[in-house]
């Protein structure tokens, strides 16, 4: 048994208390905004709870209902995963492409910056409504132009096979935030490295691959992770698009089933809301929230693990 000098023990205790003191704001925030909601969510996922009567234990009933019987769960999950893969990839590629273009052009860069940034400033509801109007299959200008060119006219937000690509187009239209971040990162790449690469005979692709990309890889990772999390919380745009495109925008006593057309715009956050706040089924809503949490954690963990092959040692 080892003995510690009493003076040293007091010193250690003091150091520990000081550490705890410094950590306490984070600990309080973590407990209130993470641990308590997480534990509550797990607890309520095993309860029948409508928000009025006290919760009662139902075991795995909510879990079975969500996975086997709730008709919206799998379509919403498939749609969310589709959006995470396609929308996030395209947003990163498009944002980087626009950023590259604007940093390279000599004249009119300001105009381009404004042109691509302005849509990002539009409130999501207004932007979505405008987009649904532009892509209205019957009266929208997009199809009028396609018709004049003799090209096929898609049903856009009203066609199950076009609804998610339409949402992706809307997301690309509001690419301004990523464009600015990429522009800042691209302008930060040391010029000497490009000069050295050029002296070594590197062409544009090799300069991008071996100079630009390693330098901006932390920003790419940031864009991917925040994009994945934001897409997992994607709620407003698909809901508004579905409501406006379906024409059911809150009539007298009319109920609206989310996901128009054919549940193709349903996302996981929408079904959390549908279950928890429209069907008063808090237990099942908690199950879906936990699935979403697990997915977000998994995606983030995988991306963070992959970072070593993606980032340089200094990052």
């Amino acid at each position: 048994m080892s003995t510690v000098h009493p003076g040293l023990r007091a010193k250690r205790r003091k150091a520990n208390l000081r550490t705890l003191g410094f950590l306490s704001p984070w600990l309080i925030g973590f407990s209130v905004f993470f641990a308590y909601p997480l534990i509550s969510t797990v607890y309520f996922s095993f309860m029948k709870y409508d928000g009025f009567a006290p919760p009662t234990w139902v075991g795995l009933k909510n879990w079975t209902y969500v996975f086997s019987d709730y008709p919206f769960f799998w379509p919403a999950l498939r749609n969310t995963l589709w959006l995470v893969l396609v929308m996030v990839s395209l947003r990163v590629l498009f944002g980087l492409g626009i950023g590259l273009l604007i940093t390279k052009i000599k004249t009119g860069a300001g105009l381009f910056r404004t042109f691509f940034y302005l849509p990002y400033l539009a409130p999501p509801v207004a932007a979505t409504m405008s987009f649904v109007f532009l892509l209205n299959p019957g009266t929208g200008p997009a199809n009028t132009v396609l018709n004049a060119l003799g090209l096929p006219e898609p049903g856009w937000f009203t066609d199950p096979s076009w609804s998610k690509p339409s949402l992706t187009l809307l997301a690309l239209w509001g690419i301004g935030d990523l464009m600015v971040i990429f522009m800042a990162a691209l302008l930060d790449v040391p010029k000497e490295q490009y000069e050295a690469a050029e002296l070594d005979g590197a062409g544009p692709w090799h300069r991008f691959r071996f100079v630009t990309l390693p330098n901006i890889s932390p920003i790419v990772l940031f864009a991917v992770i925040t994009g994945v999390i934001a897409t997992m919380q994607y709620y407003t745009e698909p809901l508004v698009a579905a409501k406006v495109a379906s024409g059911v925008i809150g009539g007298s006593g009319q109920q609206f089933e989310p996901g128009y057309p054919d549940r193709t715009t349903l996302t996981v956050p929408q079904i959390v809301y549908n279950l928890g706040f429209q069907r008063f089924d808090t237990g099942a809503a908690c199950v879906v929230a936990l699935v979403l949490f697990a997915l977000a954690m998994t995606f983030t963990a995988v991306l963070m693990r992959r970072r070593s092959g993606f980032m340089t040692a200094e990052d």
Binding site: F44, G51, D69, G138, T158, I229, V248, F280, M304
Partner: protein
């Protein structure tokens, strides 16, 4: 990135993901309260009307109430949606409503089973009001769920057929159709195509074409939604099969789903002056009594008529019936002023003068038997058509359900797939719908 930063980033990402959703999964419960109905108090009343004329009309009624009950002041909050209402009933708080109204009659089952709204039976008994004798029988029925009365009707809606008289004359149609086969012929005659679209469509049969919803059609067919044991009955009820078959055949006759849907998505807002019936783009419209006033306000360039919506050919004896719904009124169970709140609910829903003046002002159908007999009730023949539909013995509302009418949306979902040709097997689709409805009801029950 050092390990500590990685862990922090993961934790932050996780926090961001869950903090948005986890609070959705907590809630609170609260019990009711007793109060002195003669004490001075202020009630908060939430309603969903938002059009200036409607807001003015309800406020006039509230002023009349405050004159009659000077010790009660009413703080009126307009334009409340059901989503806001649901949250307020759950969360409570100092600004939560005491008296609430909702346009969604399908929500009554949920309001009653969750005890979100107070049981009105003791209040009705104390005031010696028998709801079955006071209100129109179908309206008395849709405001309760399995014997628990948590709401009363505050004006009703009846659904019928509006038609463009000018278009009828041009097509040589002399009277509104009574049977669905007559209706189909009229719709075809009234349809004029233009390119790959329509110059004038006889009728928009697609589900989600404003009021052309499953339940509004179902009332004409007499669909029995549930069997004696409460199980979904659509696959076993020939009326449901007839409904979907007829609707799909009309969609096909008028140009097919795709063409109609493309036309539908380019039509004006249901609640604005550019409604396709107002603009002459659609010659017949399944709608509620309010459309007459809206069409009048829009000052159309043609005369319109109204009639009950047609019935299947083998039910011609029941011609005159229609779908009924309306606004429901209740007291928040968390309200501490329930006795005072009852005075307001009683006044708005049963005082003949208040009901008639409000019905006349917003062109809704009165919900009390006395108000329907009142000589002061609007005599406009268009409006009276809907007053008559409301009183037809076969007029009905869909049954109340514990999950806010999810079964209607599930049935309509099948309808959309069937009309679009994405579901070919109607019998199989109806069986799947029954299974889904039963599972949803079991989960909610």
């Amino acid at each position: 990135m050092p390990r500590i930063r990685r862990n922090t980033a993961v934790a932050l990402a996780a926090t961001a993901a869950i903090s948005l959703f986890a609070p959705a999964c907590t809630g609170s419960t609260e019990s009711g309260a007793t109060d002195d109905p003669n004490a001075g108090t202020t009630l908060t009343f939430w309603h969903g009307w938002s059009a200036p004329g409607e807001v003015k009309a309800i406020e006039a009624n509230i002023e009349a109430f405050e004159d009659a009950f000077p010790h009660i002041k009413v703080n009126v909050v307009k334009g409340i949606t059901d989503d806001k209402l649901n949250q307020a009933l759950r969360a409570g708080g100092s600004k939560a409503p005491d008296v609430v109204s909702s346009f969604t009659t399908d929500n009554v089952g949920r309001f009653c089973t969750t005890n979100a709204l107070a049981d009105l039976k003791p209040f009705l008994e104390k005031s010696k009001i028998d709801p079955v004798k006071t209100f129109l029988p179908p309206m008395a029925k849709y405001t309760e769920h399995e014997g628990r009365r948590c709401t009363v009707p505050l004006l009703g809606d009846a659904y019928g057929l509006y038609y463009n008289k000018k278009a009828f004359a041009e097509a040589g149609i002399t009277a509104p159709p009574k049977t669905l086969s007559e209706f189909d012929k009229a719709a075809e005659k009234l349809t004029k195509t233009q390119g790959d679209s329509y110059r004038q469509l006889g009728f928009m049969p697609n589900f989600q074409g404003y009021e052309t919803t499953f339940e509004h059609y179902a009332s004409q067919f007499g669909v029995q939604y549930f069997d004696g044991s409460g199980k979904s009955n659509l696959a076993s009820d020939p009326a449901a099969t007839k409904l979907f078959t007829w609707q799909k055949s009309l969609v096909d006759k008028l140009g097919g789903y795709k063409k109609l849907e493309k036309f539908r998505t380019g039509l004006g807002d249901e609640w604005g002056p550019r409604h396709p019936f107002h603009t002459g783009q659609v010659a017949m419209q399944l709608d509620g009594e309010w459309r007459g006033k809206m069409a009048g306000d829009a000052k159309l360039g043609f005369e319109i008529g109204a009639a009950p919506f047609p019935v299947p050919d083998d039910q011609v004896a029941d011609y005159g019936k229609g779908y009924l719904s309306g606004t429901v009124l209740g007291i928040a169970r968390i309200s501490k002023k329930q006795n005072a709140a009852w005075e307001l609910v009683k006044y708005l829903s049963t005082d003949t003068g208040a009901v008639v003046s409000f019905a006349n002002a917003i062109h809704n159908v009165p919900s009390t038997v006395e108000a329907l007999k009142s000589p002061k009730l609007n005599n406009d023949p268009l409006y009276r058509t809907f007053v008559d539909i409301a009183q037809h013995p076969k007029s009905a509302h869909a049954p109340s359900s514990v999950n806010g009418g999810a079964f209607l949306l599930t049935a309509q979902d099948l309808g959309v797939k069937y009309e679009a040709g994405r579901e070919k097997d109607l019998a199989g689709g109806l069986k799947k719908t029954d299974t889904q409805v039963d599972k949803d009801n079991e989960q909610a029950g």
